[in-house]
Amino acid sequence: MPSREKVIFEYSHPGRGASDQWPRDPGAAALSDLPASLRRRRAPELPEVGELEAVRHFTRLSQLNFSIDTHFYPLGSCTMKYNPKACNQYAMLPEFLSRHPLAPESQGQGFLSCLYELQEMLKVVTGMEGVALSPMAGAHGEFAGVAMIRAYHRARGDLARNEIIVPEAAHGTNPATATMCGCVVREIPVDAQGDVELDALQAVVGPHTAGIMLTNPSTLGVFERHIVEVARIVHEGGGLLYYDGANLNAILGKVRPGDMGFDVMHMNLHKTFSTPHGGGGPGAGAVGVGARLLPYLPIPLVGREGERYRWLTEADLPHSIGRLSAFMGNAGVLLRAYIYMRLLGRAGMRAVGEYATLNANYLLKRLQQAGFDAAYPKRRASHEFIITLKRQARELDVTAMDFAKRLLDYGFHAPTTYFPLLVPECLLIEPTETESKDVLDAFVTALSQIQKEAEQEPGRVTSAPHTMPVRRLDDVRAARQLDLTWKPTAQP
């Protein structure tokens, strides 16, 4: 990888600029109506650089990143599968890009028809009765889902239901979302095989239960085998079931959340339906609901009347939980998901779950054969699995973090580390279906090599990475001596 790159402001020279990009100067008279008291006194200190300097700077920055296009990226729970180029190219046709969000429906029938068909396809693959596309990330979809659960209970006059149950291994967004919706979180344990403890569940379900949030397969990389029982207990207790779609890739085309008994869910379109992760967003967290929650879906939806498509808003859904974005969520991302689904089609949709699961189980088996410890050795892997390095940490004083950092030197992005919190020294590994056997084999070789290093030359591993633009960073310093904006004289 290239070494470090200066901060853009360090290239700046007063008076320089990419002036071909600028509009013509309308002259000072154009601003004569703006009162001085409302005007800016000093120009903002933005960089003053030429186009080539900017292009080189940002191109170099891009080269300091690992990405799916350049590296295997087995980040558990994130589904870092290949993002097909066609999805980007056809979502960026000029007509789609220049479409104003408030433009008349008559000028957007093509665009609206894509979104409508996306809603319909997502209903089919999840077993839900209605889908809203506007939530802009998984956590945003979770918010919509729990807000709908609350609205449902309120509408029935069931005002005491303000508790959301989450298993202790849940994503942090689940309890954080419950709080944002004004709920109280009740955590329940999972057993030694990774399934929810039904007795514990039975004990917390009661007249205060609003619902339960579950990921299935769970964050432990195994399928929740008691799901039918879980659904029965929660439903009999008057609660609803929320499906966190983070792991939908595992079961796409094989099992549908609606058939498992879930009442509401979000889908991470940036995971299962391969829209780009973009360095941390934009995501898209469409929500699906069963019949009971249909009236509460967030607006806008896309409806069809005969051959015409139109927005459905407050007038159509008076009980909606409301609007979650200024306009239509991450619309351009939705087009990418639509294109991906059309490219895959019915057969491809089934193949996703199958090959994601095949790759995970193969990689798990190979790593076990190489001497690594599975966290749940008696279970099938779903689309991801956990290995625990607590033996290496105890015997060699080499941690999961050290293995993760050393993997970077071998040209692999690290798996998710230290999540779920339940499993000590864990690596959560998700290969996805788009990786070949060759890549998986090379990954096994790399981890085996690192294991050898850990035994023979542990310092090499504990001081990794050695080939990145920077060495390990001082996170404590970053938090204590906050340096969040660049200043000309300051040194970090």
Binding site: E48, S62, Q63, Y73, L93, H100, E120, R323, A331, F419
Partner: protein, 457 residues
């Protein structure tokens, strides 16, 4: 199979290694009654050529109208370099920079973005972005409740002339946590906040006052006086601003005697295409003292073990993956790709280019207003200065006029009747630097014909 590289030999070898006969066997822990049978309703697959044709047909059906719509999403020239670089795979297909050593590109870029947003808004720090302008305003309201320790009411004053969709998003996002939003009326003659309405809050506990500049009508608010009023009443000030306008207008950090406390806004004008409503990016900046109450990702500069500078996510102890139920927000992503576009855009524009853009947009809007108000039956609804959009009053219902314009390939603006019925036949129009005098002429004559046609009928 598309995007699945396995050969039959690969599959056979992998199944053998696992010790099962068929892929199907890997799903043997799933109760059989739950298994999906068919996915009727999902069409057969298309290949790349076919999807290309399909999408092109859909796009062609929509066409490209000559648009004078603004209302929170603005058409600006986007330099070619912005998306050429933004869509590089190293930015496009990377994830959240959890492994800092392998993500220095994204991290440094976010640090540069934070710096640019802080400077543009005149505040000391900024975060790595939020979902969009509306959700940023909602998060700012929640943040103000945490940050204003002198207030316990969770009561936020919101002018009626703040973007109506933003107000609805705030309600949906924050009402479950007990926030109350009180609406402040606007003055009928000039569309600005009605100061006389503030008097009734003189003795009340107010957590924050939201000020949008320019407001939804395009009108410039008296931000200094409003800010000082809020601070005199121990309320925080949340500024909702258009980033382009900040090249010309006083930044929130300089409003009133002490400056606004939190600044947010929609980053779309900074190099992000309209794209049917998203993906866009919300930005947020604040004073250093509030940093721990700020939601969303934050990047900091630090040192590595060799003493060299590097960038990393910081203050993660506020966030959901650490704090879980006690986090400042459930947010776990920013709008990384759009931050990339905005940062490149601001670098290419620089202070001078951004000022030219703002000035040219404003000049075009004045030209538009002057042209349209020369038509009989069209007048400016509000007195006083505006920035790059304005409300016109027509002498008849707006919807049929817009329909007639649409038939001529012109999107004439936003009919305000559903949002502000008390304004009568009000139309919000916008022009940016992308409109030429010929475009404005075309609009004027089409509008003239539409009005004359309606008169004749």
């Amino acid at each position: 199979m598309a995007f699945i590289p396995h050969t039959e030999a690969d599959v056979a070898a992998m199944l053998e290694a696992i010790g099962v006969k068929r892929i199907e066997d890997l799903f043997d822990e799933i109760p059989p009654q739950l298994r999906v049978r068919a996915l009727a309703g999902v069409p057969e697959e298309l290949n790349e050529m076919e999807i290309g044709r399909h999408m092109s047909e859909r796009a062609r059906a929509d066409g490209i109208a000559l648009s004078f719509l603004g209302a929170g999403a603005y058409e600006h020239h986007i330099p070619a370099a912005v998306w050429a670089i933004t869509t590089r795979g190293e930015f496009y297909s990377a994830y959240t920079p959890y492994q800092a050593e392998a993500s220095q590109g994204t991290l440094q870029l976010i640090y540069e973005f934070q710096t640019m947003i802080a400077r543009l808004t005149g505040m000391s720090i900024a975060n790595a972005s939020l979902y969009d302008g509306a959700s940023a305003m909602a998060e700012a309201a929640l943040m103000a409740v945490r940050a204003n320790r002198k207030s316990s009411s969770a009561r936020i004053l919101v002018p009626a002339a703040v973007h109506p969709h933003y107000r609805r998003v705030a309600l949906a996002a924050a009402s479950n946590q007990g926030l109350k939003f009180d609406e402040l009326p606007y003055r009928a003659q000039d569309g600005g906040v009605d100061f006389s309405a503030l008097a009734r809050y003189d003795a009340e506990d107010i957590t924050a006052l939201i000020i949008q500049q320019p407001n939804f009508f395009g009108r410039l608010e008296e931000v200094d006086a409003l800010t000082d009023w809020a601070h005199a009443h121990a309320a925080l000030v949340i500024a909702v601003v258009n980033p382009t306008s900040l090249a010309l207008l006083k930044p929130p950090g300089e409003w009133g005697a002490r400056g606004a406390d939190i600044a947010v806004g929609e980053g779309q004008p900074l190099g992000v295409p309209l794209s049917g409503g998203g993906p866009y990016l919300g930005f947020m900046s604040t004073r250093t003292e509030h940093v721990r109450q700020m939601p969303g990702r934050i990047v900091g500069r630090t040192l590595d073990t060799a003493g060299q500078q590097g960038f990393t996510l910081t203050l993660q102890a506020r966030e959901q993956h650490i704090r879980r139920a006690k986090a400042t927000s459930n947010i776990c992503t920013n709008q990384g790709l759009l931050v990339t576009a905005a940062t490149i855009y601001l670098s290419l524009m620089g202070p001078q280019g951004l000022e030219r853009t703002a000035a040219a947009a404003h000049a075009r809007c004045r030209e538009l207003v002057a042209a349209l108000t020369r038509l009989p039956g069209v007048r400016l609804a509000f007195a006083g200065p505006y920035f790059h959009e304005a409300v016109l009053q027509l002498d008849r219902a707006v919807a049929p006029v817009l329909k007639a314009l649409s038939a001529r390939g012109i999107t004439g603006g936003l009919d305000l009747t559903p949002y502000y019925p008390e304004l009568g036949h009000a139309l919000l129009v916008c022009a940016t630097e992308t409109k030429s005098s010929a475009d404005i002429d075309r609009y004027r004559s089409a509008l003239g014909e539409a009005l004359a046609g309606a008169r004749a009928a």
